[in-house]
């Protein structure tokens, strides 16, 4: 019997094509690449360091060029303060880049952790059902009714002293529940599919079924959700930092920079404009990419747009 392989596009090619045909998603992707590039390469573009006050004593030249009195200069390319300087003469560009790095890193890690937790717990609950499901969903419901922002604010004293990684875990711990519910319902319909049933009748153990069959078949959902979670996590982090409960000085994040700049937003707009602008661009870009991914993975969800 001769094999006639269908000469159609693979799923991956199709998704890529649909994604790149979507203009707003493409725009989002370009913005996101730009922002990430800026965060990674930014420190090499400026002679100034974000924690200038520490190096002040060591680097006399730096001190000479930006003494306290010389603070609050407007953005200019001549003295290489692209975004101007702050009240203490620190370079706003260097600070913004540092804040961007931190916010992106926190956002990314929170998304990875929370989507991971959501996938594991949701898939386990949805596949096993029964008592396990009831227990896990009880936990989900409990966490959903807790005022997460308030709890994080109260806990802030404790985690601020032990570093920003703890903040990541706490943000993730309060962020996974909705996704877990979606994953659970998808798993419940997946477990009734014949290929899962076939695996069960072959004697494949539960954890293997979840890892080998359930997860890959939910990949699109998880990727989309993870992407959108990055945006959400960045917003929660900046929100917390803005109110002083997140990343704490001397370290900076976009949120704490915006908080510092708001006081003089009208008189010295460069203090908060750049960090605020980058925050908006980043979150918008992530949302556009996430929406684009969803449309590419699941064209049915889109309203009739195809010609």
């Amino acid at each position: 019997m001769t094999q006639t392989t269908v000469q159609s596009l693979s799923r991956r090619q199709l998704i890529r094509r649909r994604f790149f045909r979507n203009r707003s998603a493409l725009f989002g992707l370009i913005c996101l690449l730009f922002v990430t590039g800026l965060a990674l390469l930014g420190p090499y573009l400026t002679p100034w360091s974000w924690n200038l006050s520490d190096e002040n004593g060591l680097d006399f030249n730096a001190f000479a060029e930006s003494p306290y009195g010389a603070g609050l200069t407007a953005p200019s390319f001549d003295d290489k303060h692209y975004f101007g300087t702050s009240q203490v003469g620190a370079d706003v560009f260097a600070q913004t880049i540092r804040g961007l790095q931190k916010s992106l890193l926190i956002g990314l890690l929170v998304a990875v952790f929370s989507t991971g937790i959501a996938a594991t717990i949701g898939a386990t609950a949805g596949y096993l059902l029964g008592k396990t499901d009831r227990l896990l969903m009880w936990v989900v419901d409990l966490l959903l009714v807790l005022p997460s922002f308030l709890i994080l604010a109260i806990l802030s004293r404790w985690y601020q002293s032990s570093g920003w990684l703890l903040l990541v875990f706490l943000l993730a711990a309060f962020n996974w529940m909705i996704t877990a519910r979606i994953v659970r319902s998808v798993s419940m319909s997946l477990r009734e599919r014949d290929f899962i049933r076939a695996a069960r009748y072959m004697g494949v153990p539960t954890h293997k079924i979840i890892a080998r069959h359930m997860m890959p078949n939910m990949a699109s959902l998880l990727i989309i959700d993870g992407t959108l979670n990055v945006g959400g996590a960045i917003l929660s982090e900046t929100g917390l930092s803005y109110l002083g409960f997140g990343v704490k000085a001397p370290d900076v994040s976009l949120g704490s920079l915006i908080a510092e700049g708001t006081a003089s937003a009208l008189t010295f707009p460069w203090l908060f404009m750049f960090s605020g602008g980058l925050l908006v661009i980043t979150v918008l870009a992530i949302s556009l990419v996430g929406d684009g991914l969803r449309d590419a993975f699941d064209p049915g969800s889109k309203s009739k747009k195809m010609s």
Binding site: R212, A219, M306
Partner: protein
């Protein structure tokens, strides 16, 4: 006698843009429909049959690019806009869809929907329309029609809904009725009723009926003329008896020869057409059937054959149409191979035994406090046994509990009541490790090969998966996987491809390979061919019988398709509403059925032979399958039984009050008080 055609399709081509290229759904098709005739359009999935019929009524999506003409009463329907077209829809051309549930509006009564159809095209009062709706339901033999006009679609069963659809279609006495797979979603006994009514509708209104179907058997009984479609073209058309008796196109010949027939007395190996239907995105050059054709020659790759007259009424699109008859008679085309009977072991070792198996599903009510208000009797006290090396078939309509029975066996758990004994071991006493070892010998092949393979797993890995459960080295797994792929007739080089790259038939072969990986002794087959295209079914059935011969497997074969069962099974058990009504050797049960249900089931199966169909006495059952929540008292079949109706009232009372048990009769067992 040649009448003027009522509808002329001229050089119709329809194509759609798609992600992977242009889909050429219909390619340059011309077809005439004459008044009052029933025309069957037969084709496999992707052959363009549905697209062609939808273009007649102007229901194609906007993206479709259409060229050609569809002439109806002197006007080209393709020139009309949607508004003009809607004047014809319903009044001149009516449509019956495959799925009656989604075709009816669930929040309106059927009377209202029928009245709506009437009021659009006719100038009558609302009351008159409702009254007419009742008459229409009466014509479609719906019981208590004038009361049922106030019922909602969900209050009707599938078969009844399809009757409502037919009533809706004939409401305005259209000239043409399009029926797109009208009986595919229905059970055999209900299908017979619906086909009967369709014929009645044609007689009542004088309309021409276009039946679009994949089932040759359906058209053989009802159609006057048929057109066979393949790869977007009509490859053969003509009067139904001529086409069946003397098919001219190799595809038609193969198709007719590849269908198992329920009335065949001896088992002949089915002719199987190589390969699978082409994708409409990527049609082969020249004749679309060329690559699969046993009479393929070099001209077939170059020239697209057009329909040319073969004799007076019959037309064929084949480059070698003049040679085909010679090839068939000399036995060079689809040669007939007799089945080599395997010697069955005389000992008749029973390897799987089910005794008084019962499975009920609780019916729960209430939101907070869930109480059990009743039970669904999915499987009610059934017993059967499987003999080593044989094929046991369980037949029945949907909802009779055949799949539940399989799942009960596959779960390897103690059943609710009764016993399941496999290889002499009772499932209730199985330890965890014994259970795992048991999985090795008991494997299952599911109905739908599109659902039973993980779309994200390359097929090689899918086949190796059951071996991964047991300690088998990776190298041995690879080797075995390659063997299995060649065993089921696939190229081992394709092990890294994903399931989406294969057609339905190939996927089912992969699923069979996976089930065979651990050399099981029992293979459970849950409707293994019903989701496949007609032309690839024979290949899979032949593969299954080859495997059985080669490896001495035992099968439990579950199916609703009696002709397939007749072909593969040695022993058959007929189920109705959770219990077995008749069981015995397949030849005996099929040739002289004793239970009235078996009789009616057999007579309802369409036979792909117009001659037989025309003169066959049919027992058409009334009504639908009763609900298993509230099964009838006594004999479960008594509500629909035709034998009971001829009995005296005292005898009838026995059917209602007393439940018959399986009684030995010749070498079979029958559960009926008055079995013939």
């Amino acid at each position: 006698m040649k009448k003027e055609p009522i509808l002329q399709i001229k050089n119709l081509s329809v194509s759609f843009p798609s992600e992977s290229g242009r889909v050429e759904a219909v390619r340059n098709v011309s077809l005439d429909v004459y008044p009052g005739e029933i025309l069957g359009i037969v084709g496999e999935s992707g052959s363009g049959k549905s697209v062609m019929s939808l273009s007649t009524i102007g229901l194609l999506p906007d993206a479709a690019q259409i060229s050609g003409q569809i002439i109806f009463e002197g006007r080209n329907l393709l020139d009309l806009n949607d508004l003009q077209m809607s004047k014809h829809r319903g009044r001149d051309i009516a449509m019956i869809f495959q799925d009656p549930l989604s075709a009816l509006n669930p929040v309106q009564t059927v009377g209202k929907q029928l009245a709506e159809a009437l009021l659009i095209h006719q100038d009558i009062s609302h009351e008159a329309a409702i009254k007419r709706a009742g008459e229409l339901l009466e014509e479609m033999k719906i019981p208590k029609p004038y009361e049922r006009v106030n019922s909602y679609p969900h209050e009707f069963s599938g078969g009844m809904r399809q009757r409502v659809m037919i009533a809706l279609a004939i409401a305005n006495a259209p000239k043409i009725i399009l029926a797109d797979e009208p009986s595919t979603a229905l059970d055999v006994t209900v299908q017979a009723q619906v086909l009967d009514l369709l014929k009645r509708a044609s007689v009542l209104t004088g309309a021409s009926v276009l039946i679009v179907t994949h089932d040759m058997g359906v058209v053989a009984g009802i159609a006057d003329r048929i057109a066979i479609m393949y790869g977007g073209k009509i490859v053969e058309d003509g009067p139904v008896s001529d086409v069946f008796e003397n098919p001219g196109m190799p595809y038609t010949i193969g198709l007719i020869r590849s269908i198992p027939r329920v009335d065949s007395r001896q088992k002949i190996r089915l002719a199987s057409i190589a390969g699978s239907p082409p994708s409409p995105v990527n049609l082969p050059p020249g004749c679309a059937f060329g690559p699969r054709c046993p009479a393929h020659s070099s001209i077939c790759d170059q020239k697209i054959p057009e329909l040319e007259p073969l004799n007076k009424d019959q037309r064929v699109a084949c480059n070698r149409k003049d040679d085909i008859a010679g090839l068939v008679s000399s036995g060079n085309l689809y040669p007939v191979e007799p089945i080599v009977e395997i010697k069955k072991s005389q000992s008749r070792n029973v390897i799987l035994e089910v005794k008084n198996l019962k499975k009920t599903f609780p019916l729960l009510k209430g939101q907070i406090l869930r109480r059990r208000v009743g039970s669904v009797y999915a499987v009610d006290e059934i017993s059967f046994s499987l003999v080593e090396g044989e094929c046991l078939a369980i037949v029945g309509e949907s909802g009779c509990g055949k799949t539940t029975t399989l799942l009960e066996i596959m779960n390897l758990l103690a059943p609710e009541s009764g016993r399941i004994v496999i290889f002499g071991k009772d499932m209730a006493e199985l330890s965890k490790s014994e259970k795992l070892a048991m999985r090795k010998d008991l494997q299952i092949v599911f109905q739908d090969p599109f659902a039973s393979l993980d779309p994200r797993l390359p097929i090689g890995e899918a086949i190796m998966e059951p071996m991964g459960v047991f300690d088998i080295s990776k190298a041995d797994q690879e080797k075995r996987m390659q063997e299995l792929l060649s065993l089921v007739g696939l190229n081992p080089l394709h092990a890294n491809s994903f399931p989406s790259e294969f057609s339905g038939g190939q996927r089912q072969r992969i699923a069979i390979a996976r089930a065979m990986a651990l050399n099981p002794k029992i293979l459970i087959l849950d409707e293994p061919v019903s989701a496949l295209d007609v032309s690839v079914r024979a290949g899979v059935l032949n593969l299954l019988s080859d495997l059985q011969k080669k490896l001495g497997l035992s099968y439990i074969f579950v199916s609703h398709d009696l002709s397939v069962v007749q072909h593969v099974a040695d022993y058959v058990a007929v189920m109705y509403l959770g219990s077995i009504v008749e069981s015995g050797p397949v030849n005996e049960v099929f040739n002289s059925p004793s239970h009235p249900y078996t009789q009616s089931l057999l007579s309802a199966v369409p036979v792909p032979d117009p001659k037989v169909e025309k003169f066959r006495k049919r027992i058409i059952l009334e009504g639908d399958l009763p609900s298993p929540i509230n099964p009838p008292s006594g004999c479960r079949f008594h509500t629909r039984c035709h034998v009971k109706q001829q009995k005296s009232p005292e005898d009838q009372a026995k059917c209602v009050s007393e439940r018959p048990t399986l009684q030995a009769k010749r070498s079979s067992e029958v559960a009926c008080h008055y079995s013939s």
